[in-house]
Point group: C2
Chain length 300, copies 2
Amino acid sequence: MLGPRHQRVQRLRRLVRQRTTRRSDGAFVAEGVKVLGAALDARAPVEAVYYSSEAAGAPGALDVVERAREGGVRVFALQRGVVERVADAVSPQPVLGVVGNVDRPLREVLARAPSGAPLVVCVDVRDPGNLGAIVRVADAAGACGVVCCDTCADVFNPKAVRASAGSLFHVPVVVDVGAADVLRVLRDAGYRCVAAVAHGGEDYAAAELGDRVALVLGNEAHGLDDVLLAALDARVSIPMAGGAESLNVAIAAAVVSFELARRHRLGPGGSDAGTGGPAGGAPGGVVRSGGEPSADEPVR
Amino acid sequence: MLGPRHQRVQRLRRLVRQRTTRRSDGAFVAEGVKVLGAALDARAPVEAVYYSSEAAGAPGALDVVERAREGGVRVFALQRGVVERVADAVSPQPVLGVVGNVDRPLREVLARAPSGAPLVVCVDVRDPGNLGAIVRVADAAGACGVVCCDTCADVFNPKAVRASAGSLFHVPVVVDVGAADVLRVLRDAGYRCVAAVAHGGEDYAAAELGDRVALVLGNEAHGLDDVLLAALDARVSIPMAGGAESLNVAIAAAVVSFELARRHRLGPGGSDAGTGGPAGGAPGGVVRSGGEPSADEPVR
């Protein structure tokens, strides 16, 4: 049983608290049954697993520990009270694992992208909870990856890992890149870079966005800066009723991403609405009956 | 300047911390420039405003205090360090106000509902941050109200108020009601009660939902219970790609609510997709050119 001063425990603490340690060590901490289980399911590079005496009373916790052990992962018990000193959360999890960074190079992500899958690009998204929520949304909406540019929070921050609810191990993430470089690569790869802006963009639901979309999301308070905006191909906004001034960035990501998923799944019906023509005039308007991907969405 | 033991400060503290005090006093605390500003804008019943010496350095803070004073609200300065003892947040806001509860009776909300505006019904949504985020989403998506049933978190909890980002003062909320009673009233009023379920429901994007929809959301971990589910009119799910198991409840609320808003805004294009017919066959398929509400969506 490891005590609070054991060097492995000290390292755990640093990995939880310090982005610099996470980068220099190329590793991060996955806390809890669900997230650690997702790491094992996805065959992520789990280096070591730690559990507290409370694991015996937590549903699924010992099972995850056992699965890790069977998979050849080193497993360590922590003395009572150690996990509370290490963990980031208000309610510390009785199991945690150190996982090697799972980020991928952008070009690899693009090369492996399924047809029609959008890419989500975050620029200066500062709140790790929002960033993790965006990863979860991107996963569920079928995005091919999430890119974290410029001054984004660390997607391997414990709050981000927790908010991703395991999706960090399902959808590839690209980290520590500059937005300008990313845009250049995306342009070369034929992506249409579409900014989500709070106001003044085209109605996201009426806009034709094509089938190679990079959805670019900006800072929670300030959005995207003007220089970057000017370099993008289009701007969409989510029309808001009532007195609402803006949407949370993860909510906005969800609304636009699932609209893209809807078109991909059901065909482009509705995507040409707002042009004043009859609803029947959808180009390429073959309606697919669920599940089957449509490769022929109109590209503007 | 009020010190930490002043009875007004003691009451503030209790209003922040205790749901029972909020209910017995019929009041809650709105923290920060944005939320308190929204309360004043909406002419909510602000009883008193408190500010700390840090207000001078916070953009907009003294302006909000002055607006409150001009509106006849009593204003009090707090001694240094008091706001930190009162406030709930990690980073306490330099201005806060006590506001009379803004909840409304369900029948009044329904009577004032604009044509085609959905109602959002939360059952056992336990996290106040999620509940506040749902209120923000409902406001932005043009819902006519948010109903908090059974064991929901308190929508006047400081975390919920903060997460609502002012929307609590824009969209009417109904609190402290039982789901069974709410469903009876909604049925009588001609609402179609549609459950959002993680798996096994009809594709939300392909389902015809009508123009009087009550979207029913369940608990974060357990969803809606079987007895309640059996009493509802339909179940929709958001098809998920990748390895995602579920979506955050506020994200799910956003995806379905903005799909309803999209149909309302742009006409039903796409809503009949998945039937195997051509996209042109939309009933009532007149496409409106943005903004103008469509009153003739098909009701199943």
